[in-house]
């Protein structure tokens, strides 16, 4: 079984982002970037499935500018076998990303495609579902547990009401939740080894898909700020404030 894992380079989850003064976006220059957190879970799960002898190859793919390749390199360092970097500049909407992934799936013919459930930059939560739609494959979104069985997966999904378990036939798409596993750190020897693993470069424009934006980002602005609160001295003061000032209890 072959697993394709899509990873995205995003502003590191610990960075307090800043909105550009001209309203065109957020500041990305000289800002720490890393792999979108649930994409790390996706890679980890694929590697674990391979280590359990249930997959033969894990291929990591990213789409983006030159530097996005670092994200693939990191996936290789934690156990992916080879990488694909689809070069593309500018903002790609999830629909465009899923069309590019569809082309790669046609070529690579994986049995499973894994990715994070949501990217923490645009917070869209769309790409996996869209790719499933384009391929007409089953989708298991927000996965917190995956059991690989013969030609099918049993997946536990985190939903608002609790947990849901579904069974999906292979080939299929799984979008991974943060609780799926604990992503490993790359060891130094593995980081060195990863440098020798192949990364195929593909130019998005050569894939023959229309990736032009359908959405216009009119402006990006700071959200309204909360006004500063106060520290209370003790519990009695807190309860008194809640009762008599805020009038919420």
């Amino acid at each position: 079984m072959k697993i394709l894992v899509a990873v995205k380079r995003v502003i590191d989850y610990n960075v307090q982002i800043r909105v550009k003064e001209d309203g065109t976006g957020v500041v990305t220059d000289n800002v720490k970037m890393s792999t979108n957190p649930p994409d790390d879970n996706a890679i980890e799960e694929a590697v674990k499935i391979k280590e359990a002898g249930k997959a033969t190859e894990v291929v990591a793919i990213t789409i983006g500018e030159e530097k996005a390749k670092e994200t693939v390199r990191k996936a290789l360092a934690v156990g992916a076998d080879r990488g694909i970097h689809v070069k593309a500049d500018g903002i790609l909407e999830p629909l465009a990303v899923s069309k590019i992934l569809q082309k790669i799936v046609d070529k690579e013919k994986p049995d499973l495609v894994f990715m994070g459930k949501q990217a923490i930059d645009d917070d869209c939560n769309q790409t996996g579902q869209m790719l499933s739609a384009l391929l007409n494959w089953p989708q298991a979104t927000f996965a917190s547990k995956i059991d690989v069985k013969e030609n099918k997966l049993e997946v536990t999904r985190e939903i608002d009401e609790g947990l849901e378990t579904i069974e999906i036939g292979v080939p299929a798409i799984v979008t991974c939740d943060l609780r799926l596993n604990e992503p490993r750190y790359a060891s130094l020897p593995n980081i060195m080894k990863a440098k020798k693993k192949p990364i195929e470069e593909i130019v998005a424009a050569d894939l023959g898909v229309d990736v032009s934006p359908r959405l216009e980002q009119i402006k990006v602005e700071e959200p309204p700020k909360r006004k500063a609160g106060i520290k209370v001295a003790n519990v009695a003061e807190l309860v008194q404030k809640l009762k008599n000032e805020a009038k919420v209890i």
């Binding site: 996996g128 579902q129 609790g162 378990t165 602005e221 519990v235 309860v239």
Partner: protein, 317 residues
Amino acid sequence: MAILLIAEHNNKELRPFTLNAATAASQIDSDVHAVIIGQNTAEAAKQLSELSVIKKVLSVEAAHYENFTAENFTPVIVKLAENYSHIVCSANTFGKNLMPRIAANLDTSQISDIIKVISPDTFLRPIYAGNAFATIKSNDTKKCVTIRPTSFDPCESTGGSGLIEKVDAAEEYSNTKFIKREEIKSDRPELGTARIVVSGGRGMQSGDNFKLITEVADKLGAAIGASRAAVDAGYISNDHQVGQTGKVVVPDLYIAIGISGAIQHLAGMKESKIIVAINKDGEAPIFSVADYGLEADLFEAIPQFMEELNKLNTIQK
């Protein structure tokens, strides 16, 4: 063209956020139709037809719709979409799972999790965990929009008298099978709609200690929330998680206990009307959004808090 709202329900009755999504839909255009897909949904369809802003209800019933799988729902909605300019539903796990599958079939770029309708083609949505707001204009002819339920008031549940029209079911998608759903039943208010939320974080130190949170919540008639750290540590189940990838809550009062206030947690609660933080680390980021901060050891503060609450003659419920 009219707007098509996808109703969320449990076959017996509507789920509450359908009313919020209906409000958002009615702000795009006053001609809102709603589709309800499920099995034995007559009562829920009737509720839907009574919503103040709904002009017409389309009801699709079949056994394979009983568990709301996106693979089964999508073909029905894609077919109906011919007659509508916008497809709308809530940006909760139901809508997040479903809408992109519809949008891709319609070759439309979805707009996720809007918090404001600016015009029929322009919407405001949070990005980067709510640390920036983006104004997005869609140039697609058909628009797929998911709405953040807590950013829109629920519509009136009465006053509507839309006709209920039956629509044929589509074929079953055979490659996805529902096995089970484990819902945690509770008498407490739902986290997404509660007036008060009491949340615990890593500082609770154990699942057992979450009993302290439970006591406070019971006293206040509140829902129980948690940070991702507390859920990851196994203190409490995932349906309680508040944050960027969990639930977004906007209660009148949010009490964060033993929660440091990571960016990802703040994304889920910082629009709350009043925020209380109880944390022994005075530098914790949660204090930057708290209206009332109490720097204290929660294991001392919670029992005192209960004592003070017990002294009050009345507590709003």
